[in-house]
Symmetry: C2
Subunit: 457 residues, 2 copies
C-alpha cells in the first residue's frame, strides 16, 4: 500500500486525467480572469501528507488552488510583468525531463542531455555574434544568471583589491544585480548608479563624468552593467558606445538582456541591440523572450575561461566523469540540476527559430498599436514617446487618478497590468510578451483601460 | 505556419505520443543498461532550429539521444551517485506547473502556488523540530541551498570583520560548500578542514583543539558546517555534540543534510540525526531523499529573519505585490522561478509520508544486505564496517585491482557504481537511494560485482 512503485495501468489512468485537465485548462484559458484578488490562505494545521490521496482528488485540489485567485500568468491578457506565457511544448519537455531523469550536468553521465544543452548554448552564443571562445550555461532564471556573470567578472579583480574598484550601473538596473553584488561580497565596493536620459537610457556624459571623478580619487573601473530591455520600461542603454568605452579601458561589460535579448531574432531587435557583441557577459531569459514557463534563464560569457574559473569544481567521487567534451557543471553554480534545456530545445525544434522571430515581431507591432490606443485616450499620457521594445508606460492626469485607474483595472480583473514609480510619477505598465497576446487581447486591454477610466471619472 | 499557437487537436496528438513514449520508457526501463559508454558527440554545425520539425521526429531524436549512452539515472540499477530515481508523479507535477505557469514567487501573484510551497516548507520545518520562527525555501538543488545558508550565516558577521573569523568544516564536506564560500566572497577567511575518525565522522577532539588554537590567535569562530550524510560514504557527524558546542559559543551551526535529511522520516534516521534540531540552517534535497527528479533542493533556517535579511529585495514595479502572507521571493535568491514545489507536493499528497518512510527504510535494509554481500565475497573489503545510511564503500586487495574491477563493472554496464578516493585507497561506492532499487536490483548488483571480480582474476 505504501510503496512508490506505480503500475502501468495506474500511470495510464493518471495520464488520462492529466489530459482532461490540460484540454480543459487550454480551452477555458481565453475566457478566464487575468487577475482575481485573494487575500488570505491558511497553512495546513497538521501535515497535509499523512494519508495517501487519490490522483483525481489531488488534481482537483490543485485546480481549486489555481482558481482561488492571483495573477493568471498563462493568460494572453496578463500584461503585468515580462514573462511570456509558457508554450505547452515546454510542459511536455519538463515532463520528459523528469520522467527520464537524466543528469544534465556532465557529458559522461548523459551525453545526449549534454548535447541538447550544449547545442542551445552554442546557438545563443552565435545569435549574439560571440567568438568560438564563448560559452555559457542555463540557470533557473535571470537572478542566478546575473549572479553568475558577476562572479565571472569578479575573477578579474583579486580579493584584497575589491575595495579599490568601482561598478557602474544604470539607475534602471534590475534589482537582482544589487543582490548579486551583495551575494558576491561586493556590497561594499563603490557602486555608481548612473542617471538615465528622458528615454530611461543610461546617460553617457554622466557616466564619463563619474568615471573621471572616480579616476581622480584613485578608484579603478571594474565593470559596467547595461540594460538591454530594462524591466521598468524596456529601455536599452547605448550598448555600442558603452561597449567601446569598456574596450578602451579594459572594463568588464555586462549586458542584462534578460528581457530584451531574444529580440535579436528580429530585424528591429538586431538594430536596437547593436553593440551587444562587445559584452563580456550577457544575461538572457528563455522564460521571457522564448516564451518558456518560469524557470529557465541563461548567461553567456565571451571568454569561457572566466566563467569556468569562477564556478568549476571537482570532487573525488566524480573522478570518472572527466571527459574531453563540454560538461555544464564546469560552467554552472549548480551540481545536480534540472534538465531545463529540454523544454527550450523541444520548443525550438518543433516551432523553429522563425516562429519565435514571428512572435517577437508580433509583440513589437502590438506595442505600436497599444501606443496608438493610449495616445488616442483623452486623459492618458505616455511616459516614453516611443517604447523601445514591448513595454509601455502611461499615466493619468495625476498620481491619484493613475492609482485609482489601476485599482479599477485590477478590480475588473479582465486584464492584468502592473505599476511602477518613476520621477515621482505613478505609471501603469503594459508588458506585451505573452505568446498568447494577440490583437484581440490587446483590444480588450485598451478597452478595459478606457472603461476603467470612465468608471472612476 | 510560424506561429506558437497550438490547436486542441495538435496538442492532443502530441500527448498521445508522449503517452506512448512514457509507457515504453517505463516498461523497458528494468531491462535497460545502467551504463553505456559514449565518448563523443558532435555539436550541430549550424543552428539546429532553422526549420520546424514534426513532434514525432523531435521525440524520436530525443529518444536516440537518450539511447546513445551515459548513466541511466532513472534505473533501479543506477547505484553510482545519491539521487533517487525520479518518481513519475513528479513528471506530472512538472508538466502541470509548466502548463499552468503560475509565478510561485509571491503570494499576491499566485496564492495557490504559494500555499503549496509554504505547506511544504512548514512540513519540512516541523520534520526537524524547528520552532515557529523557522522558514526556508526550495532551490534548484543542494548547491544553491548551501549557498543560501552561508549567506544567511554571513549576515551575522559584518563585512570588514570577515577576515577575523573562522569556519570549521569536516574534511568530508561537500564541494559545494567550498564553492559557496568562494561565491560569497569568503574564500579568503580562515577555513579549517577538521579531520574525520575511522568512520569518517568529524573528530570532536580535533575540532576543539583547532578552535582553541584559533582563539589564542585572536580569531573568532563564525560557523561550523556538519554533514548529515556525507556524499562520499554517508557519514553523519556528531550533530548533538557539535550543536551544543555551537550553542555554548554562539556559532552558526549549518548541517548539510542534502543526502541524509529525509531519513528523519524513519525511526533509524531519527536516532542517527539526533541533534540536528540544534542547527541554525539545514540543507535538504528532495531530489535525493524524496526521490524527486533532478532539480529541487531546499534550505530551512531556524530564525527566518536571518534568511530574509540575506536575500530579500524590492523594486518599484513590484509595489502592489506586498502581502501579509508569506512570499517565497523574500526567502529565495531567485525572482522568477520554477514552480518546483508542485512536483514534491503532488508526490507527497498521492503517496503520503508513509510511502516515503517505507521506501527509505527499504534502502536502509538493502544496505545491510549489500554489506553482507560484500563481506561474503572473498577479495573484497568494506571501508566502513557499518554504513551509517545507504552508501557503502568497498575495495579489492589493492588499488590496481579495485580500479580494474570498477572498469569491468562499467564495461558490463548492467549496474552503475562510482568510485572515490579515501586515505590513499580507491573505493567503489554502492549508493542505494533509487525508489526503483529493490532486492532484485541489489542481487544483480552484488552478482555483477562478483562476476566482474572473477573476470579480472
Amino acid at each position: 500500500m505504501y510503496s512508490l512503485d506505480i503500475n502501468e495501468k495506474q500511470f495510464n489512468d493518471w495520464l488520462d486525467e492529466v489530459r482532461v485537465f490540460s484540454e480543459e485548462f487550454l480551452r477555458e484559458l481565453p475566457k478566464k480572469w487575468a487577475y482575481k484578488n485573494q487575500e488570505k490562505f491558511l497553512l495546513e494545521k497538521k501535515s497535509p501528507f499523512l494519508e495517501p490521496h487519490a490522483f483525481r482528488d489531488v488534481l482537483s485540489e490543485f485546480k481549486s488552488l489555481l482558481e482561488a485567485g492571483g495573477v493568471n500568468t498563462a493568460s494572453g491578457k496578463f500584461m503585468g510583468y515580462i514573462p511570456g506565457g509558457g508554450v505547452p511544448t515546454a510542459a511536455i519537455g519538463d515532463f520528459l525531463a523528469a520522467l527520464t531523469n537524466r543528469f544534465s550536468g556532465m557529458f559522461y553521465t548523459s551525453p545526449g542531455a549534454q548535447k541538447i544543452e550544449n547545442d542551445l548554448i552554442k546557438w545563443m552564443c552565435e545569435l549574439f555574434g560571440y567568438p568560438e571562445t564563448a560559452w555559457g550555461t542555463l540557470t533557473s532564471g535571470g537572478a542566478i544568471a546575473n549572479l553568475t556573470a558577476i562572479l565571472a567578472a569578479r575573477e578579474k579583480v583579486p580579493f584584497p583589491l575589491w575595495t579599490n574598484h568601482v561598478i557602474y550601473l544604470s539607475s534602471e538596473c534590475h534589482m537582482t544585480i544589487d543582490r548579486a553584488l551583495k551575494v558576491a561580497g561586493l556590497e561594499f565596493i563603490a557602486t555608481r548608479k548612473i542617471p538615465v536620459d528622458l528615454n530611461f537610457r543610461m546617460d553617457l556624459n554622466a557616466l564619463e563624468d563619474q568615471m573621471s571623478r572616480d579616476a581622480r580619487e584613485g578608484l579603478r573601473p571594474w565593470m559596467i552593467c547595461a540594460n538591454a530591455g530594462a524591466t521598468n520600461l524596456g529601455s536599452i542603454d547605448p550598448l555600442e558606445e558603452i561597449g567601446r568605452l569598456c574596450q578602451r579601458h579594459g572594463i568588464w561589460f555586462h549586458v542584462d538582456a534578460a528581457y530584451g535579448g531574444f529580440f535579436i531574432l528580429t530585424n528591429r531587435g538586431k538594430r536596437k541591440l547593436r553593440g551587444i557583441e562587445f559584452a563580456d557577459s550577457i544575461t538572457l531569459d528563455p522564460h521571457k523572450g522564448l516564451f518558456q514557463p518560469y524557470g529557465v534563464g541563461a548567461v553567456i560569457v565571451k571568454d569561457r575561461e572566466n566563467l569556468r574559473k569562477a564556478v568549476s569544481q571537482s570532487a573525488s567521487y566524480l573522478a570518472e566523469t572527466n571527459s574531453s567534451e563540454i560538461s555544464q557543471s564546469d560552467y554552472s553554480l549548480e551540481l545536480t540540476r534540472h534538465f531545463r534545456a529540454l523544454r527550450v530545445w523541444l520548443s525550438l525544434k518543433i516551432f523553429s527559430e522563425k516562429a519565435f522571430e514571428f512572435t517577437l515581431n508580433e509583440k513589437l507591432e502590438l506595442t505600436k498599436i497599444a501606443r496608438e490606443g493610449i495616445l488616442r485616450t483623452p486623459g492618458l499620457k505616455l511616459i516614453v514617446d516611443e517604447p523601445e521594445l514591448s513595454v509601455l508606460g502611461f499615466h493619468a492626469i495625476n498620481n491619484d487618478v493613475t492609482q485609482k485607474l489601476h485599482k479599477e483595472i485590477l478590480r475588473r480583473g479582465k486584464v492584468y497590468l502592473s505599476t511602477t514609480n518613476v520621477r515621482g510619477k505613478h505609471i501603469i505598465r503594459i508588458c506585451i510578451l505573452s505568446f498568447r497576446t494577440h490583437k484581440a487581447e490587446l483590444d480588450i486591454c485598451i478597452g478595459e483601460v478606457r472603461e476603467a477610466l470612465a468608471a472612476i471619472a
